[in-house]
Amino acid sequence: MENDYRYDYSSQEDDNKGPEIVFENVTKEYQNGVRALDNVSFRVAPGEFAFLMGHSGSGKSTLTKLLMLEERATSGDILVGSINLNSVKSSGIPYYRRLVGIVFQDFRIISSMTVFENVAFALEMLGAGRKQIETQVMAALDLVGLAKKRNEYPGHLSGGEQQRVAIARAVVNLPGLIIADEPTGNLDTENSQEIMELLQKINTELGATVLVATHEKELVSKIGHRVIELSHGVRILGNK
């Protein structure tokens, strides 16, 4: 794949693995005075799969927003690989986001596009050629088990399948980091389990660092990865 990204993880110790995530004394206070994160520090190792847990209002969403550069930390440092997110200018945000695959609770796929088009969208934007798009999109759809449904529209897919399309789009340009914000929030138990397994597969096969924000304790305990738990904006569990 042509690589014109302004950011890379070149200083990574292991190039086959996703970037390390480091939060150092991160505080986020909104303009209305609400302190969503209070002096949070943790580390996610390169290529690790970790859960970010907490009740609603615990600061999970704020934390993922900081990682997506939707919000900026009030104080403290956030490092993704060699990138200090505090130093990323507004104009650099799109280039940073190309290194991150994002999965949302509400899927965020375009209903007027087919499964293939929804995934190809991310590559077209980067100016990828037709052959490259075909190869990479089909690889991503294979990975999520939707290759046969490439011509279907989202309206004809189940919730679990729609989330798979979103995951395929998130991984199609092989990002080093996958952030999933409540990816199973709109799914039944069976589909939730499948989505979690799929994220694990991506972690294993692509070597991507995966951070999943969720409040579903049962599901987390079944999967069995490290948990970073937040409560009222403070990390209470998950040392490493």
Binding site: R97, R108, I109, I110, A122, M125, G127
Partner: protein, 300 residues
């Protein structure tokens, strides 16, 4: 190659935007067309008046008509004095007979009626046609002539030109007023059209932002939509304006025949410059309006 593909993708998105919002795009094109047509008519009126004024000014003609009681000898004495005036470029003596023939020629359709007046002494008058070196001397010269005894009338082109200048001033005021109001109107409509497209594609824009599309990349199709709306409106307005100009050209020519004014064709009357101006206006309004709409409504 990569950039060609990106440009191709952006163009495809612009076409999609236009097709998705065809009715509003059509409305915007109509407004731009109407705006430019009105402004164009004002501009052409101003330019035509300017051309007429210029031609009149170049000639700086004054016709002095003596009363019928003034004899040829007296008129010739005046002619000698006027001819030697430093301000006068040429002076032509028109005999009583020549004047009469002119009148009869002018009313040739009712020639028989006027034949009965051929011997009327009131139609037996001498004239002097004067062309000045400088148009600016006209008012003073005419005032002096009017002081002379035996002058019946002075056909004063200066007064006509002054009236035309005043008209041209108001036409120019109208042009500027129309341009300002109508530009505001076009900006508003293109802004709203692009706003609707941005809102309709809100979800797509949001996703594009999350997968790393730059603002320029996202906004470009919307800006191209606005700019193409402006250009199409401008081209149609120019075509219609040239048609309107040609349609009134004959009418202008007829009027001009009586005054020896040579009317200009559309091309001579700034048609090319107006085309360029219209296109630039279309691009500028389309760009500004869509840029503002994209900036305001693209924040997701």
């Amino acid at each position: 190659m990569k950039y060609i593909r990106i440009v191709y993708y952006v163009l495809r998105q612009s076409v999609k935007n236009i097709l998705r919002n065809l009715f509003m795009v059509f409305a915007s094109v109509v407004v731009v067309f109407f705006v430019l047509l009105v402004v164009g008519i004002f501009i052409e009126a101003g330019l035509t008046l300017g051309s007429v004024i210029e031609q009149f000014s170049d000639r700086a003609e004054i016709q002095i008509n003596f009363s019928y009681i003034v004899s040829d000898e007296t008129a010739k004495e005046y002619f000698d004095v006027i001819s030697k005036d430093a301000r006068v470029k040429t002076a032509t003596y028109i005999t009583k007979e020549e004047n009469l023939n002119k009148i009869l020629d002018y009313f040739k359709d009712d020639k028989e009626l006027f034949e009965n007046y051929r011997n009327s002494e009131r139609l037996q008058f001498v004239s002097i046609e004067v062309q000045l070196n400088h148009f600016e001397d006209g008012t003073a010269f005419v005032n002096e002539i009017k002081q002379l005894d035996g002058i019946d009338s002075v056909k004063d082109i200066v007064e006509t030109v002054d009236k035309m200048e005043l008209t041209r001033f108001w036409v120019n005021v109208g042009t500027i007023t129309a341009a300002v109001i109508m530009t505001g109107l076009s900006l508003l409509l293109i802004f709203n059209t692009v706003k609707l497209t941005v809102i309709a594609r809100h979800r797509e824009i949001e996703i594009m932002k999350y997968i790393g599309a730059t603002d320029v990349y996202i906004a470009t199709p919307f800006i191209l939509e606005g700019v193409s709306t402006g250009i199409v409106g401008a081209i149609i307005a120019w075509i219609v304006l040239s048609g309107v100009y040609k349609a009134v050209f004959n009418f202008i020519s007829e009027l001009a025949a009586q005054t020896n004014i040579v009317p200009k064709t559309f091309a001579e009357s700034g048609g090319g410059a107006i085309f360029v101006g219209f296109i630039l206006f279309g691009i500028a309004t389309g760009f500004v309006a869509s840029m503002l709409a994209a900036r305001k409504y693209m924040k997701v």
